[in-house]
């Protein structure tokens, strides 16, 4: 490359200028990459770092960016909270007399809340696949009257803000006696997530050749068999994307859970976290440890399945 340009322009000066500009280019990229990494990583690192600090350390001014004496006491408190320890004035201030760091009695609800979050998310994923896959297949491969209308209809439901649904949801769920039950969450999350799932799948199915469908039908498959035997095995990437999105959305959802849950029977992790942040007596290091617990699963999922997530996001973007 450089040789060609050199012979064409002839000058050694040109080559030098080109090299300089290439160096400048990579310097800009390097600077940009560093700034971006710090921008993304720094807040999270600070949260993680302070979750490993003792109460005495976390209130130091200026803050310790790296804990002097890292401790697991906050995480220990979460995982061993089941063994009921009576909270008295002594135990409360006994952990650290200087700061009076306090681990709330609701700490023992954290693991059950994580479990609730997990169950809700899993059920929503399963229902999404059961409901979304046939719909996407029908919209992609069957020509019928009202097809475009159905696509638009599903699209439009995505535009309704969930806060606008909260009031009627609440009244209906209350009437059905489903308040404080995880099924109210499963049902509403399903409605919130299913349009996006359908779009990811629709996009993918449309990309698969129609001939596949025809061949299966000629061989005597019913529509259902064509879907299950021919299309499902081929659409693994989009299925993974649906699973990821649905799971993460359900795991992270807050507003609806705030409305419908009241006790530990149905409270999900975000609800418990929110309750911690509004209690000024609770130690910051403990709250941060709880926050880290909420962050770890989705971040691990996102990092492992990065490729699927990016392709899913862009597929959803083209359509909706």
């Amino acid at each position: 490359m450089t040789d060609v340009s050199q012979t064409r322009t002839g000058g050694i000066d040109y080559r030098r200028r080109q090299r300089l500009s290439r160096i400048a280019h990579s310097l800009v990229i390097l600077a940009g990459a560093i700034v971006l990494t710090i921008y993304v990583i720094a807040p999270v690192t600070w949260l993680v770092s302070s979750s490993f600090q003792t109460e005495a350390e976390i209130v130091s001014v200026p803050p310790h960016w790296i804990p002097d004496e890292p401790t697991l006491q906050n995480f220990e408190a979460i995982f061993t909270a089941q063994e009921e320890e009576e909270i008295t004035y002594e135990t409360r201030s006994g952990q650290d007399p200087a700061a009076g760091g306090f681990i709330p009695s609701t700490a023992k609800n954290l693991l059950p809340a994580m479990w609730n979050s997990f169950i809700v998310a899993t059920l929503v994923v399963i229902l999404n696949l059961l409901v979304g896959v046939p719909a996407a297949y029908a919209l992609a491969k069957i020509r019928f009257w009202g097809r475009d209308g159905s696509v638009y209809f599903i699209l439009i439901t995505r535009v309704i803000p969930d806060i606008a649904l909260v009031v009627p949801f609440f009244l209906v769920i209350r009437k059905l006696g489903m308040l404080d039950s995880i099924f109210s969450l499963v049902l509403t999350y399903l409605a919130v997530t299913v349009p996006f799932s359908v779009f990811i799948l629709l996009q993918y199915f449309e990309g698969l050749p129609d001939e596949l469908d025809k061949a299966a039908r000629v061989d005597g498959c019913s529509r259902f068999q064509a879907l299950v035997r021919v299309f499902l095995p081929l659409s693994l990437p989009s299925l993974v994307a649906v699973v990821l999105f649905t799971f993460l959305t359900s795991w992270n959802e807050f507003l609806l859970a705030l409305m419908f849950t009241q006790t530990e029977a149905s409270q999900t992790l975000p609800i418990l976290l929110a309750a911690f942040t509004s209690d000024f007596t609770i130690s910051f290091s403990f709250i941060n440890a709880a926050g880290v617990l909420a962050i770890v699963p989705p971040v691990i999922v996102a990092v492992i399945f990065e490729r699927y997530i990016v392709s899913g996001l862009t597929a959803g973007a083209v359509k909706g």
Binding site: S26, I29, L30, G32, A33, L36, T37, Y39, I41, P43, V44, W46, S50, V59, V61, P63, V131, P134, A138, I142, F144, R147, S150, F153, I154, V159, I160, P161, D162, I163, A164, L165, V166, V167, F169, T188, A191, V194, V198, S222, L227, N252, F254, L255, L258, L273, A274, T277, F284, I287, N288, G291, I295, P298, A302, V303, E306, V310, L313, T314
Partner: protein
């Protein structure tokens, strides 16, 4: 007996009206339609209906039909207009910041360099974090006593004493917008990156042949070609911003004073603290209509179906 015959005839007519294709399409689409009808369409219609009643849960047996009173009350309510202003400020600030930052990120990730893949994985982290955890994290960063923001600025000598951040009326909404931007940039950047990658390279070639500089190429080739991508990001992020709730709930609860009293927070307070479901429903309906109108105009100006 006659009924059975009638039913069979009915079924036959159905069979005649819809071929196998139509029938299987109906069966395949039925579940998703049932879910969306029951859990999206019905509630939004129901909330329209509710918005005509004065419905206070504190007086459960008296829910008079009041025509448009909830709406007219709304438009004469000072706090409602305050919340509209706050929502607009929040949305405009955060959507512009998201667009700018995401553009820079997308331009960076469009380059070829070592570590690009790692970087594009790292930027997914904010996207994956739950909003509540994000709020908790920023609350701790902004903390006036021991937070990182104070710590950094103090150690770098930008401030000589710790400041109150979220408690400052002039700063609150922008600090919340910052937390929102941090979380939303990854998605916006990924969407912009797609539209960057879709620009045909011969456009650049042609521009280069015509002697366009880097900047000219950027402003005359890159930016116009990214218009659809930008539109998409703007629509989506505007919709997200005007309905956003979680950060306001955890960081400020609408405070200090009414400095971060946005519309979604107003709806929440009206409905679940004042237990006034009728006017809450009216406001929800206004918000839903605004969202529809916004996305409709965006799509129209974009001139393509989304």
């Amino acid at each position: 007996m006659a009924e059975v015959v009638h039913q069979q005839a009915g079924r036959g007519r159905l069979r005649a009206m819809f071929g196998y294709e139509e029938r299987s399409a109906i069966v395949f689409l039925a579940p998703v339609m049932a879910v969306l009808m029951g859990v999206a369409v019905f509630p939004i219609l129901y909330s329209f209906y509710l918005s005509f009643f004065r419905m206070k849960l504190t007086r459960p047996n008296r829910t008079p039909f009041v025509w448009f009173d909830n709406y007219t009350d709304l438009f004469t309510n000072e706090l409602f207009w305050v919340s509209v202003t706050r929502t607009v400020v929040f949305a405009v600030t955060s959507v512009t910041s998201i667009a700018v930052v995401a553009l820079l990120v997308a331009l960076l990730l469009n380059q070829n360099f070592r570590g690009r893949r790692i970087l594009s994985t790292i930027i997914l982290i904010p996207w994956a974090i739950p909003y509540v955890a994000n709020a908790l994290m920023w609350k701790w960063i902004y903390d006036s006593g021991y937070g990182a923001l104070n710590g950094v600025l103090y150690q770098l000598d930008f401030i000589d004493k710790y400041m109150v951040w979220l408690g400052d009326q002039d700063k609150t909404i922008f600090l919340i917008a910052n937390a929102f931007v941090w979380k939303e940039v990854p998605l916006a950047a990924i969407l912009l990156l797609v539209s960057l990658k879709s620009i045909p390279s011969d456009l650049y070639q042609a521009a280069r042949v015509d002697g366009a500089t880097v900047w000219q190429r950027f402003f005359h080739v890159t930016l116009p070609a990214m218009k659809p991508g930008f539109m998409l990001v703007m629509i989506y992020e505007t919709m997200m911003a005007i309905r956003h709730f979680d950060l306001f709930f955890i960081l400020t609860e609408g405070g200090p004073g009414d400095a971060s009293h946005v519309l979604s927070w107003h709806i929440y307070v009206e409905t679940f603290r004042n237990l006034s479901f009728g006017s809450g429903a009216a406001m929800s309906y206004v918000l839903a209509l605004v969202t529809f109108a916004l996305s409709y105009t965006f799509i129209r100006t974009l001139g393509r179906k989304v």
